[in-house]
């Protein structure tokens, strides 16, 4: 006999609003329906009543974790409409902040995944490290969540002492390589809890249009930093970790390895930080009529902004945001079908969902 188990409208581990209606037979999940929109904010609509300064502040609030990525993508789109190209130093600083944000996001996720695996000590270790990443972001921007780093034509703040930041990064990298990565990659507990569960096949990952680490864990080798480089990524050397198994462990491994790749990129960007201006210095921003699109590889995958403007208008006529979780979340259905009920919180969390982004 089948029965329905609702999980939500608040995720039991992530404490964010979204609901799964699971049809189960015994302990096995047969099918699932996903519900979102419990806190839908209509930000795209709000953006149409904000000027080019206000809209950056607004879009920084789409996500509480990758706030910088949203302003970066938005500013890149607006730069196409204004014809402004940020100077090289600004492009490098954009890379530094984007990679710190990736570290922050991945370590936060690792902590939550550890907690769901029943690995509470690891949860505390990850959150301690996350605090240190946030300390670095605070040193650079003065803030731990919304960094206000991006502006049209550049960045708002300089990294005055890159070597001091580099020392902090090296210390972080050492701790991650010593404490976090070995446990996630070699621990028997992590392997037994994650291997073979929540499988998203390569074919399903493609047909669902899944992005970011979730896609790479199913063998879809795409990363916009490599495939369509932006900011200063074309000048960075790094690997794109790809796993083939498509299970929770593969998603764990991809993110763990990406932490090390982010540190590699940070080291290069901070060492080679070119001298020069932080922005084009234009006080008056002039938009041409048209639509511009920009994409960025956020910690959770591709973010895309499509921005339309009419000449002499104060506000955009349309801002469309496609967040990675909006692309990734429908695939949860295929991951939990056939899974044991007890595994579903970990499977859901394994896509690193952001409901704030989804309910933009």
């Amino acid at each position: 006999m089948s029965y329905k188990i609702p999980m939500g409208p608040y995720h039991p581990a992530l404490e964010e609003p979204y609901k799964l209606d699971m049809i189960c037979e015994g302990e096995t999940v047969c099918d699932v329906k996903l519900h979102i929109g419990f806190n839908f904010r209509g930000i795209e609509h709000l953006a149409e009543s904000r000027n080019y300064i206000q809209v950056i502040a607004l879009m920084e609030r789409v996500c509480g974790i990758c706030s910088n990525i949203h302003t970066l993508t938005l500013c890149q789109a607006m730069e196409q409409l204004t014809g402004l190209t940020p100077p090289p130093r600004a492009q490098y600083i954009r890379v530094v902040v984007a990679e710190l944000e990736r570290l922050h996001s991945h370590v936060l996720w690792a902590g939550i995944a550890a907690k769901l695996m029943g690995f509470k000590t690891m949860f505390m270790t990850c959150f301690e490290l996350r605090e240190k990443v946030m300390d670095v972001l605070q040193v650079i921007s003065g803030n731990r969540v919304n960094y206000s780093m991006n502006r049209i034509g550049g960045v708002n703040r300089d990294i005055e002492d890159p070597l001091a930041i580099l020392a902090m990064i090296e210390q972080l990298e050492g701790e991650m390589a010593r404490k976090v990565i070995p446990i996630f990659t070699t621990s028997t507990t992590a392997r037994l809890r994650c291997a073979g569960i929540g499988v998203l096949t390569h074919e399903k990952a493609i047909s669902c249009g899944v992005v970011g680490p979730n896609a790479r864990a199913s063998g879809v080798a795409q990363d916009l930093r490599r495939a369509a480089p932006y900011a200063a990524y074309s000048e960075m050397e790094f690997d794109v970790p790809v796993q083939q198994d498509g299970d929770v462990r593969a998603r764990l491994l991809v993110r763990a390895l990406e932490i090390l790749e982010s540190c590699k990129i940070l080291r290069q960007a901070l060492t080679k930080l070119p001298p020069g201006e932080l922005s084009t210095g234009d006080d008056k921003i002039v938009f041409s009529t048209g639509t511009a699109t920009s994409r960025v590889e956020a910690p959770r995958g591709e973010v895309m902004y499509s921005v339309s403007w009419k000449e002499n208008s104060r506000n955009p006529s349309r801002v469309h945001v496609r967040t990675p979780t909006f692309a990734n979340m429908p695939a949860v259905r295929w991951m939990v079908m056939g899974a044991r009920l007890a595994d579903t919180p970990l499977i859901q969390a394994s896509i690193d969902p952001c409901y704030s982004c989804t309910d933009r």
């Binding site: 329906k33 979102i36 929109g37 839908f40 209509g42 795209e44 609509h45 890149q76 789109a77 196409q80 409409l81 493609i206 047909s207 669902c208 249009g209 080798a221 795409q222 990363d223 916009l224 490599r226 495939a227 369509a228 690997d239 794109v240 970790p241 790809v242 796993q243 083939q244 390895l257 048209g290 639509t291 511009a292 699109t293 920009s294 994409r295 591709e302 895309m304 499509s306 339309s308 349309r318 469309h320 496609r322 909006f326 692309a327 979340m329 429908p330 309910d359």
Partner: protein, 144 residues
């Protein structure tokens, strides 16, 4: 670790246009390679995109001034290139491609909800982003 080292053979945009039966040239603008679909149906487009293994990205909906209808911009990613196909809707409906492209489900539902555009040939689940049963109140301009 398996790193992204080898790239598959990259399909040229010209050969893609040929597959689509479009003689018009691509226009690279605003970060997108645009191709005007002309008489091409969105379903034929989706089928060809599947054939070349392009990844569906999103649909962006624009309400046109007055009673001119809507413009729906369909985006796919092909080997890191963002492709754009603008479809003009004089009314408020267009064929759904959900049966051809699973990834389109939520964005079709969202546009249906936000702009009251009908994607023909599919069934809708209850509203995706909010409660109630009246689509087209979030982003579509209220008509007097």
């Amino acid at each position: 670790m398996n790193a992204l080292e080898t790239q598959p053979e990259i399909i040229s945009l010209e050969s893609l246009a040929e597959k689509l039966g479009i003689a018009e040239p691509w226009l690279e603008k605003g970060g997108v390679h645009w191709l005007i679909p002309g008489a091409l149906s969105v379903r034929k487009l989706a089928a060809v995109m599947n054939q070349v293994q392009a990844r569906f990205v999103t649909i962006t909906a624009f309400e046109l001034p007055g009673t001119e209808g809507f413009r729906l911009e369909y985006h796919w990613d092909l080997d890191g290139r963002l492709l754009g196909f603008p479809f003009l809707l004089s009314g408020n409906s267009i064929e759904s491609i959900y049966d051809l492209c699973e990834a389109v489900d939520w964005i079709e539902r969202e546009i249906h909800e936000g702009f009251a555009v009908d994607f023909l040939g599919r069934e809708y689940e209850p509203l995706l982003l909010r409660q109630g049963d009246r689509p087209g109140v979030n982003l579509r301009e209220e008509k007097k």
